[in-house]
């Protein structure tokens, strides 16, 4: 459908790659996943955040067709994970939080075996194996026995296995755990490259600072319940309790504290190391009143800036670290 001439172009609505509706999974009396409603669009690099035991791995295993949900439905690229499991398996690449390697196999043998499992034709398989090894930086290790590889290299091999059949959706459970800083940075670069290639990537990780820069959307889950799902920028606005500003005054800051405390938009104003920390009642407050109030009150100030909450701080604020 095209827009009418003269009107601004209408952007196409995002197409969901993964969709869960009231997804629930119970293990006996424990509900690992409770009524999860999630939409992940095609081309997203989606971060899945939660404490240990929050339900991240359960969600990924359900999406990987490995686990059946107790209730609700999940779809990957329009295929139901239960009724159309075979179709789902063709379009996903699942990397669990363990290696799952045959330690006495050679690197190329291992990838070739999974290539055969994914029914890649023999003629094409050798090239594909070489390509994915190049992509993950393991080309020099193609003849090595897997048991002789370091942990980081086995992790890369896991990523190469995921990519062997060129899946459209990648489900990565803690892909960077155990990697050294350089390997982690390289892994993140590979993921960004894969996103540019049009793949949808769902990544569960505890390294939130990296998710913050890597992902365009995140979800926070605790005790099996979805707390937030949306853009990374939005999580701070929506989840943080109140907007925080810092004011650097010239001389004594007591006057500034008194002035700001009297304002109805401010819940708290405290002096910290010669600066004033101002907490607003909510994110809807327009902070432009702040310089006006200070100047009209006779307070001279040399600096004023918004406190940027990182994903880690937001996560700590909105979760209690409770597990099941």
């Amino acid at each position: 459908m095209s827009s009418a001439p003269g009107n601004p172009p209408i952007s196409a609505p995002p197409v969901p790659a993964v969709e869960t509706v009231h997804l629930t999974r119970a293990y006996g009396n424990i509900t690992a996943l409770n009524d999860l409603n999630l939409v992940i669009n095609r081309g997203d690099l989606f971060g899945f955040i939660g404490s240990n035991g929050a339900g991240k791995t359960t969600t990924l295993r359900i999406l990987a067709t490995f686990l059946a949900p107790s209730a609700g439905t999940a779809k990957v690229l329009g295929h139901d994970v239960i009724r159309e499991a075979d179709a789902v398996r063709h379009v996903i690449g699942y990397m669990p939080d363990f290696f799952g390697v045959y330690k006495d196999m050679e690197v190329t043998e291992y990838l070739d075996f999974f290539g055969a499992c994914y029914k890649i034709p023999t003629a094409q398989r050798e090239k594909t194996v070489n390509d994915v090894l190049e992509l993950v930086g393991l080309a020099e290790k193609r003849g090595s026995i897997i048991g002789a590889l370091s942990r980081g290299m086995q992790q890369r091999l896991g990523l190469a296995r995921v990519l062997i059949h060129d899946p459209k959706v990648l489900l990565l459970d803690e892909p960077a755990s155990g990697l050294d800083p350089r390997a982690r940075i390289e892994m993140m670069a590979i993921l960004q490259e894969l996103q540019r290639m049009g793949k949808t990537i769902i990544i569960s990780s505890h390294i939130l600072s990296e998710l913050q820069t890597l992902c365009n959307r995140v979800a926070i889950i605790e005790k099996g319940k979805l707390i937030y799902s949306g853009p990374v920028q939005g999580v701070r606005d929506q989840m943080a309790a109140g907007l925080i500003y810092w004011v650097v005054t010239q001389g004594d800051s007591t006057r500034a504290v008194e002035l700001l405390k009297a304002r109805p938009e401010v819940t708290e104003a405290v002096a910290v190391d010669g600066q004033v920390k101002v907490t607003f009642v909510n994110h809807q407050v327009d902070p432009s009143f702040l310089p006006e109030a200070l100047v009209s009150g006779g307070v001279k100030f040399t600096g004023l800036w918004e406190d940027e909450l990182g994903l880690e701080e937001v996560f700590l604020r909105v979760t209690r670290g409770e597990t099941q």
């Binding site: 067709t65 398996r89 390697v101 055969a116 499992c117 002789a148």
Partner: protein
């Protein structure tokens, strides 16, 4: 020498034992068995002249228990620490390798002593009936002590040689066999006749422990007897002289103690050298490439590639050099042993050898059948296979086909040998020998199915293996039950019909299990990694 002492290790070991989930059940079961044995023996002990027989049989039982339990309890104690990465943590403390080994040994000794103490009430029963001399008691106790020390040595040694639980168990029993019964090993037969007569305890008569038999007496009560029943009454033991009686016992006890000490010293040295994880060296890798690559590499590669195209899971069973070595090594072993047996002067040696080889083949086949899936479950590789588009049917067929192919040469060789033995040597055994051959083939065809099923239902290798064999042996009866009177009538006609019933029973049971397995794997109903 022991660094931070051995007590922390002993404490930890005893705590782990106390928290073992199966422990209370085993203790309860053991106590019930003890009560049952006590009741049976107490009844038998009232019969005149049965005191010595009882004494013999109880100590035979105790010796068997020591031989069965001590290596089994010891085999995994260090292997597990290494496997779970806790051995390295122990070495981060002031504990030393000898301290760790001695601590583990002490904990096992305490367990063995507890086992022995539990038997004490039963051990006293023969004395109520009289006829047991102090010399008998000393001989038995020394034999048990020697056996316990040698079994402990075997278990500890096995535990240091590998971190694989199954391999550690197998090695422990193998080493125990070498220490206790091997040709160059310690022989209990040398303990016989401390009295200078041929009426030593039945345990040592003939050089090896006599089996204990149970039989129903005419009035329906269960009595216990052994091969010595029916022989003339034992004349009073005449001890020639104390030194003549004591010296052989002291020598044997000393040898056992020395074997244990040397083993513990070696175990300490071994874990000190090998506790750190080491990747295979380039030399090791090149050795594997040079000596474990098939001579006809290209032909094998083509063959393996075709297998992989057809079914990647079937290829899994054949890709490794270990699989190839076990496949052809087993055949070579069989040929060599059979040649040696044919060369012997006794024609029955061949029949006995074939029987022994059948047992070896059964053990190897069961191990391969059960261990493959268990390893994949543990490493998580099975989970990865299950999220690939490969179907459940392909997985099962691949697994079964791979196992069939790996053991086909050995099975054909043995069945052919058995057939040859029984046709060439008329008196070698029953005329129904080929019923056994058919049963072997039926087991060969169906074991992979049962083994795969059991490997998915239980996580313990030995339990899975035991369940596999229970199913295999029960399968013919299930078949007979299924085809009802028809099969019974057929079986009554003669061997051909019995063969048919066995085949039908095995195949039908395997078919049922296959269907159940397929359905459950489709639903991913098993607990994986």
């Amino acid at each position: 020498m022991f660094g931070g002492g051995v007590w922390p290790v002993v404490q930890r070991e005893l705590r782990a034992t106390a928290r073992w989930p199966l422990g209370p059940w085993l203790r309860a079961g053991g106590a019930l068995c003890g009560v049952a044995v006590f009741c049976v023996l107490a009844d038998t002990a009232t019969q005149v002249g049965m005191g010595l027989e009882l004494f013999e049989n109880i100590h035979i039982l105790l010796l068997w228990l020591i031989c069965a339990l001590v290596p089994a309890l010891t085999a995994d104690c260090l292997a597990r620490e290494r496997r779970e990465g806790t051995l390295g943590l122990l070495f981060m403390t002031p504990l030393t390798a000898p301290g760790i080994v001695v601590g583990k040994t002490m904990a096992q000794v305490l367990r063995a002593v507890m086992l022995w103490l539990a038997m004490v009430p039963i051990l006293t029963l023969p004395f109520l009936n009289g006829g047991v001399t102090w010399a008998d008691v000393v001989v038995c106790l020394v034999a048990e002590l020697c056996a316990a020390m040698l079994c402990l040595a075997a278990g500890m040694l096995a535990s240091t040689l590998t971190d694989n639980r199954a391999l550690a168990f197998i090695l422990a029993f193998l080493l125990m066999g070498i220490f206790i019964g091997g040709p160059a090993g310690y022989r209990f037969s040398e303990l016989k006749n401390p009295f200078g007569s041929s009426y030593g305890p039945g345990l040592w008569r003939g050089g090896y422990p006599n089996p204990v038999f149970f039989a129903a007496s005419p009035n329906g009560r269960v009595i216990m007897w052994n091969r010595s029943m029916g022989r003339p009454a034992r004349p009073p033991a005449v001890v020639r002289s104390v030194p003549a009686f004591v010296t052989p016992l002291a020598v044997k006890l000393t040898i056992a103690a020395i074997v244990l000490l040397i083993t513990l010293r070696f175990a300490g040295w071994r874990i000190e050298k090998s506790w750190q994880d080491k990747i295979p060296s380039k030399r090791q890798q090149s050795l594997v490439r040079r000596y474990c690559t098939p001579l006809f590499a290209r032909w094998f590669a083509d063959h393996l590639r075709r297998t992989k195209e057809w079914n990647p899971i079937a290829w899994l069973q054949q890709y490794s050099w270990k699989a190839r070595v076990s496949k052809w090594g087993l055949c070579l072993l069989f040929v060599l042993l059979e040649c040696a047996a044919i060369d012997g002067s006794q024609p029955y040696h061949l029949a006995a050898t074939v029987t022994f080889l059948l047992a070896v083949l059964a053990a190897a086949y069961t191990y391969a059948g059960v261990n493959g899936f268990l390893q994949e479950r543990r490493s998580g590789a099975l989970e990865l296979i299950l999220v690939s588009p490969i179907s459940v049917k392909e997985i099962i067929v691949g697994r079964v086909w791979g196992l069939w192919k790996q053991f086909l040469p050995s099975v054909l060789l043995l069945v052919a040998s058995d057939f040859a033995v029984h046709t060439m040597i008329p008196d070698a055994g029953s005329n129904w020998f080929w019923v056994i051959d058919v049963e072997i083939i039926a087991i060969y065809l169906t074991l992979p199915v049962f083994a795969t099923f059991c490997a998915l239902h239980v996580r313990n290798l030995f339990l899975a293996a035991a369940l596999t064999w229970m199913a295999l042996l029960a399968a013919p009866f299930a078949g007979i039950m299924f085809i009802g009177m028809f099969a019974v009538r057929l079986a009554a006609v003669g061997p051909p019909s019995l063969c048919l019933a066995i085949l039908v029973g095995n195949l039908f049971s395997a078919g049922l299990v296959l269907e159940y397995l397929n359905r459950n794997l489709q639903k991913r109903n098993y607990a994986f990694h």
